[in-house]
């Protein structure tokens, strides 16, 4: 044993510690800088206030990433119940603040408005990982036990319900997707996954039966198939966005040359519809580059998961990768008319502080997992 321990120490010292994932950080930085440029393009008619704001968030986000990288992710495991409780309280607190645009999502702070649901997404990843990852070396039974599954469902349903009340359908769907991905990675059997989907279907059916699904939420889905049902409302956003994306063609109209987006025909173009501005001004090539950047990000995350020192870290990173994939899929799909219009931001590109900080925090945790990966090849299942 002593020999093994010594050789492990030697291995550690010979590699002089693990290096941070510079590709992950570089991709994040590139996306953030590109986001600043597009936010400037979309809002320059009104000055540079929006871009300046976002610059502050970028700096804060980078700091968050660096600090979080230094924190051992294993610390979160003990803190999870308390952090989870705190986040649920914050989620409930939004109902004490005035409604904006028909929703209550924000806690008004002196400098900016905190959107707790953005942080709740990361919290959910931590919570689910800490439930389903084995707690000790002895707990090496394959698969996932039913009690753990029930606990995951309970831990997901509570914040999802609160977010549903805000209302914020998009964020709720993030929870569902992330939970499914993590359960699958965590060893859930097909039967268990079927049970989870059945549980979800039962809830949706119940909501329908009791009339709790809001009309406009259904409209947002129906309008995908029939844009004429509301030409001036939801269909309007969609049609304008699609027209703007389409008129970008292969190489785009040129930076700052987007007539559709720069004259603000496309609503929310600096936030939820920022991909529309990218696609119109920089074309298919520009849009594909953005998708490529996210692909790199997801590739790095899956690599980190595969190299995680323990199942807890690996599951966290799986959850984070699922979260990124789902945001990109829904957001970009929405601008091209294949996904419903929901308020999901495009990570690192859309204007918004809470989202940027939460995403930076998530990548920081991933980097923390990378920094603490097993120093010895093959020794990667350590509690």
């Amino acid at each position: 044993m002593a020999t093994i321990a010594r050789s492990a120490r030697e291995a550690v010292s010979s590699r002089r510690g693990n290096r941070p994932d510079w590709i992950l950080f570089g991709t994040m930085a590139l996306l953030a800088l590109f986001g600043l440029l597009m936010i400037y393009s979309a809002t320059r008619a009104g000055g540079i206030v929006s871009m300046e704001r976002q610059m502050i968030f970028v700096v804060a986000g980078v700091l968050t990433f660096l600090v979080t990288s230094q924190i051992d992710y294993r610390e979160y495991r003990h803190l999870t119940p308390y952090l989870y409780g705190l986040m649920v309280l914050l989620l409930a607190a939004v109902f004490a603040f005035p409604e904006r645009g028909g929703a209550r999502r924000w806690i008004e702070l002196p400098l900016f408005d905190l959107q707790p649901s953005e942080f709740m997404k990361v919290m959910m990843v931590l919570a689910i990982a800490s439930v389903i990852a084995p707690h000790s070396r002895d707990d090496d039974r394959p698969g996932l036990s039913w009690p753990k599954l029930v606990l995951v469902l309970a831990a997901t349903t509570l914040p999802a319900a609160l977010i549903y009340l805000q209302p914020d359908l998009g964020t709720m769907l993030v929870f569902v997707f992330v939970a499914l991905a993590m359960l699958f990675a965590g060893g859930a059997t097909w039967r268990q996954l079927t049970a989870v989907v059945g549980f979800g279907a039962a809830i949706v059916t119940f909501m329908f039966q009791t009339g709790r699904i809001r009309g406009y939420q259904m409209d947002r889905i129906r309008v995908l198939f029939d844009p004429t049902i509301d030409p001036q409302g939801i269909g309007y956003n969609l049609a304008q966005s699609k027209l703007a994306v389409g008129s970008g063609e292969l190489f785009g109209r040129g930076l700052f040359q987007g007539t559709q987006t720069n004259f603000q025909y496309v609503p929310e173009q600096e936030t939820d519809f920022i991909f529309t501005a990218v696609a119109e001004q920089l074309g298919f090539v520009g849009g594909l580059l953005v998708l490529a950047a996210f692909t790199v990000l997801v590739w790095r995350l899956l690599l980190i998961a595969a190299n995680g020192r323990d199942r807890f870290g690996a599951l966290i990173v799986v959850g984070i990768s699922a979260m990124f994939v789902f945001h990109v899929f829904i957001n970009v799909g929405m601008t091209m008319g294949i996904m419903p219009v929901t308020g999901l931001p495009l990570p690192f590109l859309s204007l918004g502080g809470s989202s940027f900080l939460a995403m930076s925090f998530a990548l920081g945790i991933a980097n923390s997992v990378w920094l603490r990966r097993s120093p010895v090849p093959g020794e990667n299942y350590v509690v």
Binding site: Q232, A279, F329
Partner: protein, 653 residues
């Protein structure tokens, strides 16, 4: 399944999801992109206009006279109506709004593809009823449309005017006009239309298959600027009422005369009265009767009402477009010319003393015609007023004296420069229109030898047109213009015509030292913040040379007319300060078998003339009898006396 396999499966799912995005991006941008870009490029910008509320109109004291309010109107946007829905929609709208389906169909057709049209203004009840069933009326919208409200009704109809759709000529002159939005057609609404009109709001958008795919930010309409009249509403009401009573008085006098067996030919129905500021040219009041309520034009006038008003000539603003012989009111002009130029009296006439410049006003004048024969002209009075100088002649309105001036000018025409009387009249504002800021102003006629020559030539060239000159004049060797024409001119008769406004402008010039002012009904235009963007400043068209001595003696003699002359009886009740009031009566002869036009022109105060009041009653009879009492009533109000009832004055020219 091992963890690494599960990870790989997730990775495959993620790649699949991103591939969907990439393929969709390719499809939208590259495969369909050119077509979509073309659609974006080629889409026609549709625009929607929001009519601006017109500016308010106030009187000189800030009293609101005309304003705009929003009323519900029904609009149809064809972009949202499918061809199958059309017939049904028109039928249902017709049933609901009571507009014939054929009319709506014509509007629909005229609006063009994707066009909009307004079916009409509707009541709040109808609008509410429609609003609850809007989903069954495709393309129909209830919009708020500004509508004009004339708060003072008929009293200011002629000054303020009314609105109407732009004529083809209007649209040609100003291509920016919206052919469906009414603009000012008459009066201040017309002359200040550019200020009152405001700027319509717009919303521009592009449509693809009934979907708005692109739009520009909406600009709201900007209300028109507010116009502040020089007119005083309270004075206007006093003048309106006084003139109406004057017309009534004229008809009472006529019934009495008819009862006494005198010749009476007609009823008095029309009249005009105005008050002009002699120093600034601002019109303080301007009334023409009969009048009409301009609100009848607001929601579209019906043919019957229109015909009735037109037949009564209610739309004519007699104060600026009625042409009448100014009659004895013109004697002030002749008087001033005679005094200013020391015009000669006839040398050889009986009852004329050219040295002392007196004339025997014994009721008739005998003079030699060009052919050597003698002619006798009879004055309006009977009896003998004795030998009068020009002062007494004005006071008593002695025609013989003024005929003598005309005759003297005629006899000395070779020595006198130009057409001395006519030129003087023209300079004072007779002849060409005054240029007041109102529509449809008429120009008067000043008879001159040159004009008569023109008429003669025209008459010879166009034998079919009814002649203006008696045929016997055409062959005269000295031309068609005779000494008798100059004699008629001197007493404001013959071919001389003028509007009441021209008479007022000439009097203002006579009493203010010779400044011929361009009259104005608008004092100021203010923008929405209340800042004046136009302010009336007195516009002196010409300055006529009138010696101070001539001016002061004219003022004294106008005072004598009121205090001891032809208007004395009418002004008996004036009250304190009557000695500071001047004026001149006038009785205009018309064609045979028509009653005379009654005139009075007043000036006050004589010490520092400020107001010129002109009253004309069309076929009203004697000026001293019916017009002077009306003017007295108005002058009482202006000078701060309690206006007394309008009762018959003295029969005088």
């Amino acid at each position: 399944m091992k963890f690494s396999l599960r990870l790989a499966t997730l990775g495959a799912i993620f790649v699949a999801m991103f591939s969907v995005l990439g393929l969709r991006l390719w499809f939208v941008q590259v495969a369909e992109g050119a077509a979509l870009a073309q659609v974006a490029q080629e889409l026609k910008w549709e625009s929607r206009h929001f009519e601006a509320p017109r500016g308010d109109i106030y009187d000189r004291t800030g009293e609101l006279l005309v304003t705009s309010r929003y009323v519900p109107a029904v609009e149809v946007d064809r972009a949202f109506v499918t061809p199958e829905q059309r017939a049904d929609l028109i039928q249902r709208l017709s049933a609901l709004l009571g507009v014939p389906a054929a009319e709506i169909d014509a509007m629909y057709e005229a609006a063009g593809t994707n066009g909009r049209f307004t079916v009409g203004v509707v009541s709040t009840t109808t609008a509410t009823a429609l609003a609850t069933r809007l989903e069954s009326f495709p393309g129909v919208e209830i919009v708020k449309q500004p509508e004009r409200v004339y708060l003072t009704g008929p009293d200011l109809a002629h000054v303020i005017g009314h609105l109407g759709l732009p004529t083809p000529a209007d649209l040609e002159a100003n291509p920016d006009l919206d052919p469906t939005v009414r603009i000012g057609q008459l009066g201040v609404e017309r002359t200040y239309d550019e200020y009152l009109r405001g700027v319509p709001g717009t919303w521009e958008y592009r449509l693809v298959r009934g979907e708005v795919v692109e739009s520009r930010p909406e600009t709201p309409p900007k209300a028109g600027e507010s116009v502040h009249l020089a007119l005083d509403l309270e004075l206007q009401e006093v003048v309106s009422k006084a003139l109406a009573e004057g017309i009534e008085l004229a008809n009472e006098v006529k019934s009495a005369e008819r009862a006494a067996g005198e010749d009476v030919y007609s009823e008095a129905q029309r009249g005009a009265a105005l008050v002009l500021d002699a120093q600034s040219g601002q019109v303080l009041s301007l009334v023409s009767l009969p009048t009409f309520d301009p609100n009848v034009f607001v929601s579209g006038i019906d043919q019957e009402t229109f015909d009735e008003l037109r037949d009564r000539r209610a739309f004519n603003n007699l104060a600026i477009s009625g042409l009448y012989p100014p009659a004895s009111t013109f004697k002030a002009v002749t008087y001033a010319a005679a005094e200013q130029y020391q015009l000669p009296l006839p040398e050889n006439g009986d009852g004329v003393d050219p040295v002392n410049r007196t004339v025997h006003c014994d009721g008739q004048i005998v003079f030699d015609l060009a052919d050597g024969s003698q002619q006798v002209k009879h004055d309006w009075y009977t009896g003998d007023k004795g030998w009068l100088d020009i002062h007494g002649a004005l006071e008593q309105s002695c025609n013989i004296y003024f005929w003598s001036i005309g005759l003297g000018v005629h006899q000395n025409r070779a020595r006198l420069e130009g057409n001395v009387l006519q030129d003087f009249a023209r300079d004072l504002g007779y002849g060409p229109a005054t240029g007041i800021d109102l529509t449809a102003e008429a120009s008067g006629t000043i008879p001159t030898p040159e004009l008569f020559e023109d008429w003669k030539e025209f008459q010879l060239a166009n034998p079919d047109v009814p002649p203006r000159l008696e045929p016997s004049r055409l062959d005269l060797p000295g031309g068609p213009f005779l000494g008798g024409d100059l004699m008629d001119l001197a007493i404001g008769q013959g071919a001389l015509t003028a509007t009441p406004l021209q008479v007022a402008v000439s009097y203002a010039a006579l009493v203010n030292g010779g400044q011929v002012l361009k009259p104005a009904v608008v004092a100021e235009v203010r923008d929405s913040s209340g800042t004046p963007i136009y302010q009336h400043v007195p516009t002196v068209e010409r300055t006529v040379e009138i010696d101070p001595g001539v001016r002061s003696s004219l003022l004294i003699d106008l005072g004598r007319v009121v205090n001891s002359g032809t208007a004395r009886a009418a002004f008996v009740d004036f009250g304190p300060g009557v000695e500071d009031i001047g004026g001149k009566t006038g009785t205009g002869q018309t064609t045979p078998n028509r009653d005379n036009h009654a005139w009075f022109t007043g000036v006050a105060p004589l010490s520092d003339p400020r107001y010129v009041v002109v009253v004309l009653i069309d076929e009203g009879g004697s000026g001293g009898r019916v017009a002077a009492p009306v003017a007295r009533h108005i002058l009482q109000y202006l000078m701060g006396n309690e206006p007394t009832p309008i009762v018959e004055g003295e029969e005088a020219d």
